[in-house]
Symmetry: C2
Subunit: 209 residues, 2 copies
């Protein structure tokens, strides 16, 4: 289940330059003025995405896609070169919400496009914020299950856009944290959402929930 | 364990204005040029923090602080007005790394300052990235346990900075996701790291890991 042509490790940073706000298309900076609980006015700086559709309260979805394999469940992960991290990142499938699209539709569309799998929505998180002190970007996390008995999931073929080089793989849930530490030691960059799923699993295991 | 004076719900947004890069102190925009796996040059826009100390590869730490109570473990959470989200956010204790400070030292310092608790470090995650397609901000997630038998933890007193209005509370781990959905329905904004811990716990429970 690996697209051999993706090879995200071959990507490289050439240069990093300051970007002026007026030349930015995908990011913007904002100055927020707020009153604190005592009524005192204070400033706050914020980065945001100017691409959120008017029809939506969220920028994006992230997808926890679970493969129920005979020898135990696995989570679908991706390797993708992410210029802001300077390396290849380990993430769950994700994507920006299109205008007039529901969270569930975005999730199943992005899952199909990025991994080739047809999934079924199990649950949807509240709106969650990636880095609430720094930026306003947010998402909903959608848990999906992938029926490996479904004929359409026998030979999943991603439909990547030009410029997307995503390698899809999956790892067992039972030792998810160990798998992430191994990927980290190999030089991959771990997305915080992925690591936090692992932390939750470890906590549940430790306290026998 | 609630600081009655914090009242983060009383904070309010007054106005939001565009911010020019040259006037930004806490955020910056960058234009990255990279070569994709086929060798083709491509541009990428990125937001970043100019505050990361030279001594550190990470911007910040986040702290999963576990209270081992007689009737079951609880996780320490915080309510804090976060201007980028436009509301009061549910987060774990966290803070920026100071120059020449180790991850563990930052974690125990911030835990003490923000909650009053003396903790013990149990584990430290790899470096993780908050929103790797959008910004370069990153952190390490530190799991700590708080010994409620320790005399110093009997009457925890936060040492908040001027302008910080943080309310600390804790919720049982066993129904963590339900607790977050309740907070969401009350209008609080959920940090993605907190939600993802809940997703990990739910997955472990579902698959009886």
């Amino acid at each position: 289940m690996v697209s051999p042509k993706a090879a995200p490790e071959k990507a490289k940073i050439v240069k990093v330059e300051p970007l002026d706000s007026k030349d930015a298309k995908w990011t913007k900076l904002e100055k927020i003025t707020y009153t604190d609980p005592n009524g005192k006015e204070r400033p706050w700086e914020c980065a945001s995405r100017p691409t959120r559709p008017k029809s939506s309260d969220v920028d994006a979805v992230a997808i926890i896609a679970i493969l129920e394999k005979p020898d135990g469940p696995e989570i679908v992960l991706q390797k993708q070169f992410r210029p802001p991290t300077g390396g290849v990142c380990i993430e769950v499938p994700a994507g920006l919400v299109d205008p007039n699209e529901s969270i569930e539709t975005t999730a199943l569309r992005e899952l199909k496009e990025e991994t080739g799998y047809i999934g079924k929505v199990i649950s949807k998180s509240p709106t969650i914020f990636n880095d609430p002190g720094f930026c306003s970007t947010n998402l909903s996390l959608v848990v999906t299950s992938i029926d490996l008995g479904d004929e359409r999931n026998q030979n999943p073929t991603p439909e990547l856009e030009e410029g997307e080089f995503i390698e899809t793989f999956s790892v067992p849930i039972k030792d998810f944290d160990d798998q992430l530490r191994k990927l980290d030691s190999q030089g991959y960059k771990i997305d915080s959402r992925v690591q936090n799923i692992a932390e939750g699993i470890k906590i549940a295991q430790k306290f026998k929930l």
